[in-house]
Structures are given as C-alpha cells and as structure tokens.
C-alpha cells in the first residue's frame, strides 16, 4: 500500500481545497458574505440565474422526496435512503441559497403543494407527477427521473458558471446527485449495467 499511502497528504490537500469552496459559501453568515460577494460570487447575471434554476430544481426535489417519504409506499431500505437524501438536499439548498443571497439574488418560491410541484414537474417533461406515484416502484422511478434532471441541470450549468468557487460547489453537488441516483437505481435493479449504465453521467442532458 506504499504508493496509496503516499498520496494521502496530497489527497488531503485537494479535499481541503474542495471543502473550502463549500465552507466559504456555507459557513460565513450571509450578511458577511454579502459584503464581498458581488465580486467574488456573482460574475455577471449568468451565475445568479444559474443558481436560481439550481435552487428551484433542488427545492422541487426536496419537496417531492418529503411527499414520497410521507406517502408510506417505500419499504425500509428505500425509506432510509430517501430520509438520508432529503437531509442532503437540504444541505445543498442551504449552501446554494447562501451563495445566491451573497450574490444579490433572490431565491425562487418553493412548491407548497403537490399541484404546484406537479406543474413544475410538467415543465421538466415529467408528466405523471407526484400525484401519479402509488407504489414503491413508482416512487423509485420518480426519484431516478428527478435525479437525472438534477444532474442534467448541473452538467449544463458547469459549462456556463464563471465563479470558480461556485464551479467547485456545483461539481460536488452533482457528484452527490450521481451517488443518490446510483442508490435509487440499485433499488430498482440488481444489474450493474442498469445501475451504472454509462461512463459519462450527464443525467437527462444531451451529451456533448
């Protein structure tokens, strides 16, 4: 293991830099961030608009997961995964909202009802919506579609984001969404080709 052990310090340095990007946005009080944020976080309106879209999608995912968890259709393994992922969605929201506020943007309104969520889902091409989820299989397929949409959103956003700290945070969130997607897929199928189907995970976004 000599070679692997030798990389430890380097990996710690990389992880430290990655963590700093999140901490810089999440830990500092929003007001304090706001003092220097316009230059640091919002390089043009593009980043602000991308953040708003990301937050809207994350709000939709969080609301949907909350509804599905309460619906009682998930068996224990899926229920436990959903509960853990709901907490992680909230962490994403907290960090993204801090970044948006620091950049002078205003968060979109989160869905408050299934009808509101289903309208937003319709805009994403998810016709059946939350109202159509009646079984565990439905719920897992729903979560998979939602995660693929989120990953596709980050894939597109990463082409356009300008701020380096936001790019780092976006990459970390996208990777987490991919991990959640993998767990949902593994609850749907035991076949590895279905669980990790492609070497390039870009969700529902077209490749390229």
């Amino acid at each position: 293991m000599a070679s692997t052990a030798a990389t430890g310090a380097t990996r710690r340095a990389l992880i430290g830099r990655a963590g700093a990007a999140v901490a810089a946005i999440a830990v500092a009080p929003a007001a304090a961030l706001g003092l220097r944020a316009p230059a640091a976080l919002a390089q043009g309106n593009g980043d602000v608009e991308l953040l708003r879209k990301a937050i809207a999608l994350e709000q939709l995912a969080a609301f949907s997961t909350t509804v599905l968890l309460a619906r009682g259709v998930l068996r224990p393994p899926a229920q436990a995964a959903g509960q853990r992922f709901r907490g992680q969605q909230q962490q994403h929201l907290d960090v993204l909202a801090s970044a948006l506020q620091a950049a002078g943007g205003k968060a979109p309104a989160a869905p408050r009802t299934v009808a509101e969520a289903d309208r937003a889902l319709g805009d994403l091409g998810r016709g059946a919506g939350l109202a159509g989820v009646r079984s565990e299989a439905d719920a897992i397929a729903f979560e998979i579609a939602l995660q693929e949409a989120a990953i596709g959103g980050w894939y597109e956003a990463l082409r356009a984001l300008q701020d380096r700290r936001l790019i780092a945070v976006a990459a970390q969130v996208m990777a987490n969404e991919a991990q959640q997607l993998t767990v949902w897929r593994s609850l749907q199928s035991d076949t590895i080709a279905a669980v990790v189907p492609s070497a390039f995970e870009h969700g529902s976004a077209p490749a390229g």
């Binding site: 992680q88 700290r165 970390q172 993998t182 767990v183 990790v196 070497a199």
Partner: protein, 195 residues
C-alpha cells in the same frame, strides 16, 4: 521492458485470467502499467506535467494519471473479486478506459502530450475481495478529489462538462464499491473525495 504499456497490460490480463493465486498478486499488480514517468498520479502538480499544450491540457493530464492508476487497480484486483463485485469491477474497468481515451483525445486537441501509464503501480498485497474493494475505494476517492480540484481550473466550458460527467461516474463507482463493502454508500452531501 521492451513491450509498450498495452502489451504489458494484456500480458498481465492473460496471467490474471489464468487464475493465479494471491501469492502472485503483488507482482501482477506492479506489472500492468506502462512506461515509468515517475511519481504517483497525485504527486504531479498541475504546472509540472509534461504537456506542451495549454493549461487545460496540464489539468487534464493530472486526471489522466488517475485514470491510468484506476485501470491498473481494477485490472490487477479482478482475480480476487467474485459475483456482483466482479461484474461491477469489469464494468468499471471498461468505463475507466473510456475516460482515459476521452482524456487523451482532449489533451491532444488542447495541444498537449498525454501522460503514458506508469511502468508499475504498488498497491500492496491484497489477499481477499475486501482488501481489493478497500483499495478501489481509495483509488476512486483520489480520482474524485482530483476531478473536483480540476474542474474550476478548466477554461474550456465543454471540457468542464465532459470532466464533470466523468466525475459523476467516478462518484457512482465509489457508491457501488461502498455498497459491496457494506459501508454507508452516500455519506456526505458534498462529494470531495474524502472518507
């Protein structure tokens, strides 16, 4: 020594396929790389790479070194895997090779020179499936940390998107490896490559 890296790797694969025991494993682990350019994947700094191209090529070469390491690890570890873990290992090896191929093309397109695989990789002497899975977990974490670090440094937006799609796939690999280990598959909301 005379053989190029691909020939060497094929030779190692043939040997692995013959079902050699664990006593041979450490030797085989160190026989599936290519030419020796020194230093482990993550030892190389962005500015210190051999690329003659622009900054993006240098950044991508760091990622490519991790892909070479992952290819070597999945190749060498396969004989100790069985059942679903072996199926996943084979699939992930193929995907790591796709990553490497894509990175090589991107580096060349950016005017750089892709790093070749190392002549050898010292992964120690894993004796059972769990040892290999632990090794693969570390390899995947290293790769993720490198990709997260690389993404903000890339200037070309299309390269950022491609690199992000590879990062996401590595995160998926890590999740499956952890599932096979029976540890928490998705422990953190922000994936940095840390434990």
């Amino acid at each position: 020594m005379v053989a190029g890296p691909h020939v060497t790797r094929r030779a190692a694969l043939r040997a692995l396929g013959a079902g050699l025991g664990t006593t041979s494993l450490s030797l085989l682990l160190s026989a599936c790389g290519g030419s020796d350019h020194g230093g482990h994947a993550t030892d190389r700094t962005i500015s210190g790479g051999p690329s003659g191209g622009g900054a993006d090529a240098d950044v991508l070469n760091v990622a490519l070194a991790h892909e070479h390491t992952a290819i070597a690890a999945y190749t060498a570890g396969a004989p100790l895997l069985s059942g679903p873990a072996l199926g996943a290992g084979r699939r992930f090896l193929a995907q790591e090779r796709q990553h490497a191929d894509r990175l090589v093309r991107a580096i060349e397109a950016a005017g750089g020179t892709p790093l070749p695989p190392r002549r050898s990789y010292d992964f120690g002497t894993p004796k059972q499936q769990r040892d290999v899975l632990r090794l693969l977990e570390t390899i995947e974490q290293d790769a993720i940390a490198a990709y997260v670090d690389a993404l903000p440094r890339l200037g070309d937006p299309r390269l950022r998107a491609t690199t992000a799609s590879i990062l996401a796939n590595e995160a998926e690999h890590l999740t499956v490896v952890r599932q096979r280990l029976g540890t928490r598959a998705v422990p953190a909301a922000f994936v940095t490559g840390g434990p």
